[in-house]
């Protein structure tokens, strides 16, 4: 009963990603929208989709990380429906 498609995998999903500071100014919004995603999906896939959908951000994605539910995640971490996802980039506190 092995399946390549987990039971709870969902296609054609929309994912919103919070964005802040200079990156929010670049795209003119504090909330990115990625359409037609298959969830769950890996963090690096989300970053790659952000770069494709928002070319203004492509230059700063190499110094950005994703946070899921308010914690930094690795490139391979899975993002699920209902997760709070944030793009944390171009940090410069202090």
């Amino acid at each position: 009963m092995v399946s390549t498609s987990p039971v709870n995998q969902q296609s054609n999903m929309e994912l919103q990603v919070l964005v802040f500071g200079p990156q929010a100014r670049m795209v003119g919004t504090d909330r990115l929208t990625l359409k037609e995603l298959r969830l769950p999906t890996a963090a690096n896939e989300v970053l790659s989709r952000i770069g494709g959908t928002y070319p203004e951000l492509a230059g700063s994605l190499s110094v950005s990380r994703l946070a899921v539910n308010q914690e930094f995640v690795d490139a391979t971490a899975l993002i699920n429906t209902g997760d709070e996802v944030a793009l944390i980039g171009l940090i410069s506190g202090g």
Partner: protein, 145 residues
């Protein structure tokens, strides 16, 4: 004198607008007094009157608009404080960072640390700030003149 593995005390606060010097923490000095041990180092960062743009030009600004992402910002500041407190063996850490608008010359960041000797406190301040700028979700957007 060996210190009996004291638990580090950490306090993190996000402040709406500029940080008043008078609001600077005094409990860190109390920790020192109670432990009868050594050094309190306080770093205060003030907003400068210009920003260097991406193409390396200097432009005058009115101040900086700080954004935070709560509760993650406070969590990450607390984590960073604890990690570096253990690494450097400091006794107490107090962090204040502004959010919202802070004008030129005003204070937007105060980091205070108490330790038995000055060396630990100096290393802590140096590393904490470097790491904070890389890893803690705080953003600044200049308000142009």
């Amino acid at each position: 004198m060996p210190i009996d593995a004291p638990e580090t005390q950490v306090r993190v606060r996000l402040i709406d607008g500029p940080i008043s010097e008078l609001r600077s923490p005094t409990w860190v000095a109390d920790v020192i007094a109670a432990a009868s041990a050594g050094a309190v180092l306080t770093f205060a960062g003030h907003v400068r009157d210009s920003e260097v743009t991406e193409d390396n030009h200097t432009q005058p600004i009115l101040g900086l608009e700080y954004e935070v992402y709560e509760p993650m910002t406070s969590q990450e500041l607390t984590l960073l404080s604890r990690q570096h407190a253990i690494k450097h063996g400091v006794l107490a850490v107090d962090v204040q960072h502004s959010f919202g608008f802070v004008a030129n010359g005003e204070c937007s960041f105060v980091l205070q640390v108490a330790s038995a000797h000055r060396e630990e406190a100096i290393r802590f301040i140096d590393e904490f700030i470097r790491e904070m700028k890389k890893h803690v979700p705080i953003w600044k957007v200049p308000r142009l003149k």
